[in-house]
Structures are given as structure tokens and as C-alpha cells.
């Protein structure tokens, strides 16, 4: 009796599996954005961030995230859900980030991620733009007598993060200078800092913004300095999964709107008062002219909400990067009209 019962359970579960097999598939290729639908149904944007990088994505003691990478997700939440706070943050290591995005655990990866060909083309990801132009640099102790990368000599030991482009750039750099070096790659930034601080390595290399941010965590920040040279291009930007073109567009244009808003002098405080502006481009950005939102299945005020709730790029930069002392000088991250390289396609 007991055996027959057990058999029954087995047969039923086996057939369930078969049914499940038959139902699977579909999803890709449909015109509406599945990610957008799921986000609206869930009521929050699933955003992957770093495990703590001041200025980019960092949580305070109460667990509130802030930073320019966080603000990309906030902008998307403001656009698609009407509330910039409706974001669920998932802190990810450099190693985990792409897998989490591909597996659908997050829908936007906004985690100081360098745009490279192999990442864009090879592993099922799409980069939507650049929200910070960075480059790899070196940090050394001030008393080391090293003032330039040309002072490095063979036998130097360099600490860095594993699973990042810095490991590859470092090799290219030292090889081109014909310097033999000892790479020491840690999984988490905190351990890199601790090991460098303890004297395990002579130099610490990562993106310059990261060096500036991590320096603040050291026991004696003033004992260290960042060398002037930049050895690589690191365009950092948000990433989405391949295969959902509408979602990709939403994220791209949420970022572009913030940059263009700065160009036209639209800020979080004056945005709503500019509805009757003379300039049609400003009117389009604050939603009083044209129907730009309909292309993604959003209402017309999506861009106004981004500017009002999150701010324009200049405001974000000032708040997270400049005023915190990480990189007071905007350098390449200045608008093209002011000598930088921030130049986005027009929202029209």
C-alpha cells in the first residue's frame, strides 16, 4: 500500500516536470518591454550596486544608498514608477555583477563598470552610456620618493581588485615599461586597502576615482598620494541585459536627460517653473511639448520627474563627487560646452 502511494507521488511529480518543460520558452522578441512590465508590477527597480564606494554607490549607517551610480537607478525609478525612492539595491562584488544581471536578479547594473568591447559584445550585456569618465592610476606612499610612474622599478608589488579591467591594464602597463612586478589581487576593496595599508604592496592601483575614494578609508590618508599619470581609459556606465531594447532605451535616456538638463540649465528646483519656457528643447525636457515618453510606453512627465526628484548631472556630481572631496575638479566629466567630453544625443 505504502509503496503504491509512493509510486503515485513519483509519477505525478515526473509528469509535472514534463508539463513544465513544454511551457518554457518565449519572452524575447515581444515588442513590449518585459523588464518594464515586471518592474511596474513589482513596484521597484532592481538595481545592482557596489559593496561600498564613496561617491558612486555607498550605504550610510541607516542603509540608505547614495552616489552617482545610485542616482542612475533613482532616475529610472522616477521615470517608470514616479518615485525615485522605489529602488531595491543589491550590493555586488566585481566578480558577481554580470552573472547577477544576466540571471535577472537585477535589471540595471550601475556599479562603476568599465565599458569594453568584450563585455559589450561577448557576454549578453549592453552598455547604455557613460556616467563617469575615469582612468586607472596608482597610489603610493608620499615618502616613497616615487613621483611618477616612470620611477617604478622591477620587483614592485601592486595590490588591486580581482575581476576588474585593472588587472589587465596593469599587465599592459608594466609590460610596456618592461618592469617585472608582483600582482596581488583581492576580492573585496576593503581587503586591498588593508593589505596596502599594512605594507604588503608598494602601490595600489585602480580607477582614479576609486583611489581617491578609498584613500579616505585609510588610517592616515595624508600619507598617501595618487600619481599624476592615467594609464587607461575607463568609461564607467550603467549596463542592462541584452534582448530588451525598450528597457535599454529607458535607462539610456534617463541618463541622457540628466546630462542634457544640465546643458539647458534645468535644475531640480527650477524644472517645473520652466514649463512655459521659450525654448522648445527645454519644454520637451520638462514634458510640456512633444510626446517623448510614449516611445517607451511612459507618460510625458517622465523626464520632469527625473530632473525634479534626482537632479541634473551637475547637481549630482557636485553632491556626491565634488563636495565630498573625491574629485573636486570635473575634468573630462564637464559638459562639452565647457571643455569636458560629456556630450549626449539630443532628447527630441
Amino acid at each position: 500500500m505504502f509503496n503504491t502511494f509512493k509510486n503515485l507521488i513519483l509519477i505525478v511529480s515526473a509528469s509535472l516536470v514534463l508539463i513544465a518543460c513544454g511551457q518554457q520558452g518565449g519572452g524575447a522578441g515581444s515588442k513590449k518591454s518585459k523588464t518594464l512590465q515586471n518592474t511596474q508590477k513589482a513596484g521597484f527597480v532592481k538595481c545592482g550596486v557596489s559593496q561600498g564606494l564613496p561617491g558612486f554607490s555607498n550605504a550610510d549607517t541607516a542603509g540608505n544608498w547614495s552616489g552617482i551610480d545610485v542616482d542612475v537607478c533613482r532616475a529610472v525609478a522616477a521615470a517608470v514608477l514616479g518615485d525615485a525612492d522605489k529602488v531595491k539595491y543589491t550590493p555586488l562584488s566585481a566578480k558577481e555583477r554580470f552573472t547577477a544581471l544576466i540571471a535577472g536578479e537585477i535589471d540595471i547594473l550601475s556599479r562603476n563598470t568599465t565599458w569594453t568591447l568584450s563585455r559589450d559584445a561577448d557576454i549578453g550585456l549592453t552598455f547604455v552610456g557613460v556616467n563617469f569618465y575615469d582612468g586607472q592610476g596608482f597610489m603610493v606612499r608620499k615618502n616613497s620618493g616615487i613621483n611618477s610612474v616612470n620611477d617604478f622599478q622591477s620587483g614592485i608589488s601592486a595590490c588591486t581588485n580581482t575581476g576588474t579591467t585593472t588587472e589587465l591594464n596593469m599587465r599592459d602597463f608594466f609590460n610596456s615599461k618592461n618592469i617585472s612586478y608582483e600582482p596581488i589581487a583581492f576580492e573585496k576593496a576593503d581587503e586591498v586597502v588593508a593589505a596596502y595599508d599594512a605594507g604588503r604592496c608598494d602601490t595600489y592601483t585602480t580607477d582614479k576615482s576609486g583611489l581617491a575614494a578609498q584613500r579616505t578609508k585609510m588610517t592616515a590618508p595624508d600619507d598617501h598620494k595618487v600619481l599624476p599619470e592615467t594609464i587607461s581609459k575607463e568609461p564607467l556606465g550603467p549596463v542592462v541585459r541584452q534582448g530588451d531594447a525598450v528597457w535599454e532605451d529607458i535607462v539610456r535616456w534617463s541618463l541622457n536627460v540628466m546630462i542634457e538638463a544640465e546643458e539647458y540649465g534645468i535644475t531640480s528646483s527650477n524644472a517645473s517653473s520652466l514649463k512655459d519656457s521659450e525654448n522648445p528643447q527645454i519644454k520637451r525636457l520638462v514634458g510640456s511639448e512633444g510626446e517623448l515618453g510614449s516611445a517607451f510606453g511612459l507618460d510625458n512627465e517622465w523626464s520632469l520627474r527625473i530632473i525634479e526628484q534626482v537632479g541634473n548631472y551637475g547637481e549630482i556630481y557636485e553632491k556626491h563627487i565634488a563636495s565630498t572631496g573625491i574629485m573636486p575638479d570635473r575634468g573630462p566629466n564637464e559638459l562639452w560646452t565647457k571643455g569636458g567630453i560629456l556630450y549626449v544625443a539630443p532628447a527630441r
Binding site: 513519483l10 515526473a14 589587465l168 596581488i184 589581487a185
Partner: protein, 391 residues
Amino acid sequence: MNLKTFSLDLKNKKRLIPQVLTLLFIVLLISYFTFNAQVNMDNRGIAFGFGFLTQEASFDIGFSLIDYDGSRSYARAFLVGLLNTLLVSVIGIIIATLIGVTVGIGRLSSNYLVAKFAEVYVEIFRNIPLLLQLFFWYFAALRALPLPEQAMNFNDISYLTVKGWYVPKFIWTNFSIFIYSVIAAFIAIIFVSKHAKKQREEFGKHIPSFYIGITLLFALPFLSFLIGGVELEFEIPVLKQMSATIFNFRGGVSIIPELMALAMALSMYTATFIAENVRAGILGVGKGQKEAAASIGLTKAQILKLVVLPQALRIIIPPTTNQYLNLTKNSSLAAAIAYPDIVLVFAGTALMQTGRAIEIVSITMGTYLLLSLSISSFMNWYNQSVAIKEK
């Protein structure tokens, strides 16, 4: 069971049905997930394949037992990681066994201080999570060790610093002849001990095979130096200044602090469990056995060697095999302190650079499985050799 009895035994046949169904269920479950993964990967335009293994890795590894640099393939990087895992596991197993046996015997010592010390050691190190111990050894060691310019100096040939332990490098001439001499020594030892056993069993004659063996082990390689043309030179590390305050040793071999910390943490932790196994094994041998041995006039050393240990080993080996397996698998915590083991190098950096999560994780899992199975089959073989042979 042969075919004839099988077809006749209806009862057995009936019992087979649930087993077949369970098997079918598992196969279906696996194929469901495989199919799902395939569809999902197709949708996202990810190709499955192992072709990436031959591509250029283009990242460097700080510590490698074989020749490697970034221009080599991912497969080579995998091998570097695997060898580093094996290295730390072997070192860990040896040290853990030595400490474990010592502490295990120490716990049974009649000396109060020794017994207490062993007990405190076991209770502390087995009750703190391994990862914490690892961080402790690594960061405590880093903070405690001197900078290269103030290195701890061992007779001007070896230096211990925060950047590693620098030891002289051996430079051999005619290394193969030296190896042959060692092999010859081992063959001679086996021959001598067989002969000694025969002499003892047949004629009751005692031949000191242990001392003869030791002598052979030193004498034959020594001869290879004298007449075999084998030469050994040492490359001694020297301090080099690289900038105003940066110094480092060049030349020699560097044992990196990551390896020292990892081996230390793994062996200190695992030794506690081995110590308990040893204690259980010795206590598991009946008191009467020792008394009987003493009554026929065996010395204390002989009692331990001939009566207690052979019986205790039967109790000690199976659970100790588990500990060896645990140690090997725990070595994957290396990634936390930047020791370039297979997880950090292959399932970390290589995975990141190629994005081939499924392929790389399956290769890594398969490797650990293979490692564990090899260790356990070796230990099973050893266990069988010491087990009671029913006559």
C-alpha cells in the same frame, strides 16, 4: 545476482519500480534545468563552449609553481591555480597531521600542563570560524612582520618580511641523477625491510631495518654528489632599494605571506579535529591490550608501535580522511586573502574576463570533486591496508 534468479524473483522486480521512477525523476529534473539554461542563454545570445580555454589569458598571477605569464592561455592559468590549491592542501595536510597527532597524544598526557594546553588549543581553534582565523593570521601577520629593510635575518641566507619569506633558490646540475639516487634508496629500503621481516618471522632474528633505511636514504644521494656529478648551488636573496623608502629582496624563492597565512589557518583549524580523532583512536584500544602486551615483556615504545597504534589507526583513519577532504575544500577560502588558488584565478579572474560562468564553474566543481575522490580513494586504500584481515 545472476539473470536467472532476477527474472524469477518477482518480489525483487516490484521493489525495482520505485527506484527506476526515482532515477527517471532525477534525470528529468536535470534535463529540465539544462534545457532551461540553454533556452535562456540562447535568448541572451550567449554561446556555450570551451573554446575560450585556448585564448590568451592576458592577466598575470603573482605566485606560480610553473612558468606562467599573461600571454599564456586560460587553460594554463587554470593549471597554475590548481597547482597552488594542491600546494597549500599538501602543506596544510602535513602540518595539520603533525600538530593533530602531537596535540591528540598530548591531551592524554599524564603531565597536567601538557594535557591542559592541548585541551585549550583544541577548544579555541575548532570553535572559531575558519574565515575569521584566516583574516587573523593574514592581517595579524602582515602587521607583525617587519618591512624588507628591517627583515628578520636568518644567517644571511633567509629573510622573513611583510612581503614574504625569502629563502635561497636551489640551482641543480644533473638533477635527474640525484632523483635516481633517491629512488634507488627507496627501493633498497623496501628490499631491506622485506628481508628483515623474513628474518624475524622465520629465524626470530632482529635486523635494525629502520636505522639501515635512514643510512641508505642519506648515503645514496650523498654518493651521487661525490661520484655522480651532481652539484647544488644556492641563489641567496639580496636586498635591493627601489626608491627612497621602498625595498625588496631579489633572487631566491619567495614564500608569499598569503600562502603562509592560508597554510597556517587551515592546518591549525583542521589539526584540532585530527587531534580529537587521535585521542578517540587511542582511547578506543582496550586497556587489556596494553596490559597484555606489557605482560609479555614489550617495552613502552614497542607497545605503542606494535599493539596500540595498529589498532588505533583503524579508528583514526576514516574520520581523518574527512578532515583531509575538508581541508582541501576549505582551501578555496584563499580568495579572501588573495592567495591565487583555483577559485581566485579561474573561478574569479578568468570567469570575470570571459563571462563563461557555467563552463568555468562546472570545470572548477569537477576539479574539486576529482581532488576529493582521489584523496578519499587513497585513504580508503590505506585504511584497508591497516584493517583487520579476517583469516
